[in-house]
Structure formats: structure tokens, C-alpha cells
Symmetry: C2
Subunit: 140 residues, 2 copies
């Protein structure tokens, strides 16, 4: 065991959610939320840019088995609703609060946290809990 301090980390490069229906996920994240699609592999995944990092949507049945490709990515794949949160400016949060219902997306919850930051929550088509929050929620 070494006693060196851990090397530096810049931050989050990829977050993952799971969905069985990639077309529905793409309609939601790309169509409704307006994220830029960066990569799609039919039946396996669709990847979006979320600011400087990436939001990866995987079909768990496809990522639980090792690829036959030359590049073998370690397997993973979760079931049940996950969670992800977008950072949005306060003014943009107000716009999301009206924009999402206008697209037929129900706002499941609105929370004002003890430090004054606000969040709204919706469900993606796969049932994942997707939050939009002011970055001041985790100001530090």
C-alpha cells in the first residue's frame, strides 16, 4: 500500500443512465431537452453532450455483455430508476418550469433547499429521476 496522496481529478467526464428504449431516450434528451447527440450505436447506447461533460444513455441488456469488438469496454448495466442532475442558471430554471409541461413532461417535484437553491424534478421515458438545479445548491 502506498501512502502517496491521490493524483488530481479534474471532475466528471461521463455520467450514465440506463434505458431499454433508445429511441424514446433520444426523443427526450435530444429532442425535448435539446442536448447535442455526440454518438449513437443502435441497440446499445446514445451519448449526449451536457456542457463540458457527457451524459451516456445505455441499454443495460447490451452493456452487460462484453463486446465482440477490438476495444472491449468493461461490462456494466443497472436496472431501476437512476438519478442525474443538470446545472441550470436560476433564470433558466424558471424557463424549464414552464417549458417542460409545455412539452407534456410533468414536473414531479419542486424543492427549495435550505440554502435557497431551487430544483425541479421530472422523469425521463425510462423512469430515471432527472433534476434541474441551480448550481448554488452545491456552492462551496
Amino acid at each position: 500500500m502506498t501512502t502517496d496522496p491521490a493524483p488530481p481529478i479534474l471532475g466528471t467526464l461521463e455520467s450514465a443512465l440506463y434505458a431499454d428504449d433508445l429511441a424514446a431516450a433520444e426523443d427526450f434528451y435530444g429532442g425535448v431537452l435539446g442536448l447535442k447527440r455526440i454518438q449513437r450505436q443502435e441497440g446499445r447506447h446514445v451519448f449526449f453532450a451536457s456542457g463540458a461533460s457527457m451524459l451516456l444513455i445505455f441499454v443495460p441488456a447490451a452493456t452487460r455483455v462484453a463486446a465482440a469488438a477490438a476495444i472491449r469496454v468493461p461490462v456494466h448495466g443497472a436496472s431501476g430508476p437512476g438519478h442525474y442532475c443538470f446545472s441550470v442558471e436560476p433564470e433558466a430554471l424558471d424557463r424549464w418550469r414552464t417549458y417542460l409541461p409545455g412539452k407534456g413532461i410533468e414536473i414531479e417535484a419542486e424543492i427549495t433547499w435550505p440554502n435557497g437553491a431551487r430544483s425541479i424534478y421530472v422523469r425521463d421515458p425510462a423512469g430515471n429521476s432527472v433534476e434541474f438545479a441551480e448550481p448554488g445548491l452545491w456552492a462551496r
Copy 2:
């Protein structure tokens, strides 16, 4: 249905992984990886800073039920191995490649992607696939 463009998104504020054993998760993310712990709720979650965003580790059995607290966060909770990726500079990736085995963490895979960016993969104590990648992987 509105035809307005989607409001802006700054990026990722929170990514989530699940673990039944919070103490083991804290030893790994806080102890071995050196992330700063921001919040802990015994039996439910431990939250870490990952650069400007947050990595949230939840006990799924605890987040699948609505809290009795005044602030009721929507339920979620996945089972099975998830995925998360840290952004690390190339020089830091080389250090992680030796640091992690020095802490008894096996490197499950090393990949050099078609664009030249490199990734290494380990497992957290709960079995989640945790990647360390150069940010050039998703340069755009």
C-alpha cells in the same frame, strides 16, 4: 406542445452511483480517490465533490422509499453495476495507473481510443465500473 427552443443547460451538476455498503464506498471515493466528502446521511447516501460537480453515492434500498422529512425528494434507486468517468489530465492518468494498484485496486482495462485519448477502468467496492479518462476523449 410548445415549439420554443429548449432553455440553456450549463452541464452536469450531479451524477449518481449506488452502493449497499456506504462505509466501503466512502473508503474508496474519499479515502483512496481522495474526493472531498460534502455530505453524509447514515444509511442513505454519501456525496462527494468531483471538480465542479458532485458524485452522489446512494443506498438504493433507502432512496426507493419516500423520505418522511419535510423535503420529499423523488424516489429512485438502481441495482447492478453502473458507470461513471472521472476526467484526468494525461500526466495524472499515468499516475493513477500506478497509484491504484498500489492501493490494491486492480486495473480491469486500459483502452487507447481511436482519437488517441486513453482510459483506465477499475471497480468500486459495489462493482460499479469507474473510468479515468483524458478529457480529449470527448473533445469537440
